[in-house]
């Protein structure tokens, strides 16, 4: 795939510079906020008395605020930016609808900010990936549609005869998100179902956020970047479309696996487990196509992409194994599940999208990153932080699960035995936070430099006109 072969005029990127920079700056600012909340939450896992006198930072609320800032703050802004960029570049047309996109970004971020304050105030829903109060979500739905406008116009106005699989993943995620998000809002918040249906639909929604929204964007970035950064085509491109459809069809069915042994109809977890195993086929196809990146050169974005692909594949295989009933008896309700989510959101999605950001920003702004050393520093911190926090949570979860199987093991003893590994997870979160700060400051330096340059240019132009 020659991804830039259909690139439009040079001004394509400059017209989108402001709106896309707003999305990117928002995403990295949210990343710092989210991981700061994540660090507080991680500390509370091993030291429950941390900030216990502040109601807004009660353990349950901290977790909900962290998750919301991570998914709706960092991940959403970054996902929109990367998806829009890919669709515009590969579509070959001009940017349109940028005003709507900018307005949507401002309202989206205002909505998430309000939502997080409301959770701290005690108005959270305790629904995974739907933690903000009911009245915030319609605002996000409309704002998300506004942000997606240039993507739809880029798709309908594309100048290419065919489409690439990176476009499928990107447009698919942007198309499916509002559908399942609105269905979840109606059934869980606006006119909520009663009884355990809430847990079942909650699991369906949470899985859709991962499988139909974040995973496709991460894979769009991977399929877009791989040929660009390695200079080699995707080896089995014919199978890439199949991998897309397997994820879209089967991914959404896997949510029920978390309800194994629960008070729900037995067919729901059974289908979820079968679907999780079936999804291994998707991971195999992704492996066939993206594994060359693991052996290719070492540009800065490629380092992130490589680590992201490893995290995506490792997380997928682990998820399938852990969903089997024998493993679930031990690892359900443990930190192991949190570690798997961390591996996907922070590891796979996070690293792949960061790789895309490091690749697209110089082309968007027309300026190189001020400091390659800071990119490498961020890479080391992000990779080390993710590895430590995921390893800490997985090991703590494994120990916790083993102890929970023994009825005579007290919860105090379980907490004591997992504490060293939870310290490790906190150290990982702190390391990742330092990396996020480095990246945010780095982007701020670049954008401020651009603003100064632009102001100086305008000033010169004014002087020339006046004279």
């Amino acid at each position: 795939m020659s991804s830039d072969s259909h690139m439009a005029a040079a001004d394509t990127d400059t017209t989108a510079r402001g709106p896309l920079s707003l999305l990117l700056a928002s995403s990295l600012a949210w990343l710092v906020v989210a991981v700061s909340l994540g660090l507080v939450h991680a500390i509370q896992r091993h030291t429950p008395s941390f900030l216990e006198t502040i109601p807004a930072f009660t353990y349950g609320r901290t977790q909900a605020m962290y998750e919301t800032a991570l998914i709706f703050g960092w991940a959403a802004n970054a996902a929109y930016a990367v998806a829009l960029w890919i669709l515009a570049r590969l579509g070959g047309g001009h940017w349109r609808g940028l005003g709507l996109m900018t307005g949507g970004t401002l309202f989206w971020n205002a909505g998430v900010t309000i939502g997080i304050f409301c959770i701290g105030w005690g108005e959270g829903t305790m629904l995974r990936f739907l933690q903000m109060p009911a009245y915030v979500h319609p605002l996000l739905l409309v704002s998300g549609a506004a942000i997606s406008t240039p993507a739809i116009l880029a798709w309908t106005g594309r100048r290419t005869s065919g489409t690439y699989v990176a476009q499928w993943y990107a447009i698919g995620a942007l198309f499916l998100f509002p559908w399942f998000y609105s269905a979840s809002q109606v059934m869980l918040l606006a006119d909520p179902v009663s009884g355990v249906s809430r847990a079942i639909i909650g699991a369906w929604h949470a899985q859709n956020v991962l499988s139909l929204w974040l995973a496709p964007i991460a894979l769009a970035a991977a399929y877009y970047l791989l040929p660009r950064l390695t200079g080699k085509p995707v080896p089995h491109y014919g199978f890439a479309g199949l991998g897309f459809w397997v994820l879209i069809v089967v991914g959404s069915w896997t949510g029920g696996r978390h309800l194994v042994g629960g008070p729900v109809p037995a067919w729901i977890p059974a289908t979820g487990i079968a679907a999780a195993v079936l999804l291994l086929f998707h991971f195999m196809l992704v492996w066939m196509n993206l594994s060359p990146a693991l052996r290719a050169g070492t540009t800065d974005p490629l380092r992130f992409v490589r680590a992201g692909i490893v995290a995506y594949l490792a997380g997928g295989v682990l998820d399938a194994l852990v969903s089997l009933e024998g493993a679930a008896a031990r690892l359900q309700f443990t930190h192991f599940q949190t570690g798997l989510q961390q591996l996907f959101v922070q590891g796979a999605f996070g690293l792949l999208v960061l790789g895309a950001i490091y690749d697209l920003v110089p082309r968007l702004t027309g300026r190189a990153w001020p400091s390659p050393r800071q990119i490498r520093g961020h890479y080391v911190l992000a990779l080390t932080g993710t590895a430590l926090s995921v390893a800490g949570l997985l090991i703590a979860g494994w120990i916790q699960g083993g102890a929970l199987l023994h009825a005579d093991a007290s919860f105090a003893a379980i907490a004591a035995s997992t504490r060293p590994w939870l310290y490790l997870a906190s150290a990982g979160e702190l390391t990742f936070l330092l990396g996020a700060m480095v990246a945010s400051v780095h982007l701020a330096r670049l954008l401020l430099g651009l603003c100064r340059l632009s102001a100086a240019g305008q000033s010169t132009a004014t002087t020339v006109t006046a004279s």
Partner: protein, 203 residues
């Protein structure tokens, strides 16, 4: 793929099938569940909680207690729920028809609370636990407040500060009422029969 509309129709179809199967379908299957009339006790089960307990469920929700405690007992042989004394039988969907919203939870940082009302000796014990916390649980001291100056001695006082008793706020009272209301549910004949058939098939 060159055909844009077909691509979007396929995407919409896939999501609609998923929604119908895992959102609409289960809801239609479960919404017909009603309280079970037990002739032995001449009563229906499960029973609707009191107003105070229902308010306590809202406190349980807004504090995010479900992020550390599950409310679902798994069957004997799957985990150690049975051996830990959390319930004689696994939780069934009918147990939750009066719980709005249901909070099954997904992490056991602390014990399951589906039947905590059967395991707690007294109201005072729960208040003490909430006020002081424990090794694995934070203290919720902000749910407690100084008693009015002229108030009589309160048997639920958890502390004494500057000569004034620290007593449960209305939120703490509601939360404790809710937790004490969580007890092992009755056995419903339809579920007992279904499970007997499934266990027979398994053997």
């Amino acid at each position: 793929m060159k055909s844009g509309p077909l691509f979007f129709i396929a995407l919409l179809g896939v999501l609609t099938v998923s929604w119908a199967s895992f959102a609409l379908g289960p809801d239609m299957q479960l919404r017909t569940l009603a309280p079970y009339y037990d002739a032995t006790f001449d009563s229906t089960f499960p029973q609707s909680p009191s107003g105070l307990a229902a308010r306590g469920r809202a406190v349980y929700l807004e504090l995010g207690c479900a992020s550390c405690h599950t409310q679902q007992v798994r069957r004997s042989g799957f985990g150690s729920d049975h051996e830990r004394g959390w319930g004689e039988r696994q939780s069934w969907a009918r147990d939750y028809i009066f719980q709005d919203p249901v909070q099954l939870g997904s992490l056991r940082h602390g014990p399951d609370v589906a039947t905590v009302g059967d395991r707690i000796e007294s109201e005072a014990e729960l208040h003490e636990m909430l006020y002081s916390g424990s090794e694995g649980m934070p203290a919720y001291a902000y749910l407690y407040e100084p008693a009015p100056p002229a108030a009589q001695a309160n048997p639920l006082a958890v502390d004494q500060v500057a000569g004034r008793e620290i007593i449960p706020s209305r939120r703490a009272e509601a939360l404790v009422a809710y937790l004490l209301n969580l007890k092992a549910p009755a056995a419903y004949a339809p579920e007992v029969a279904n499970n007997a058939v499934e266990e027979g098939e398994a053997h």
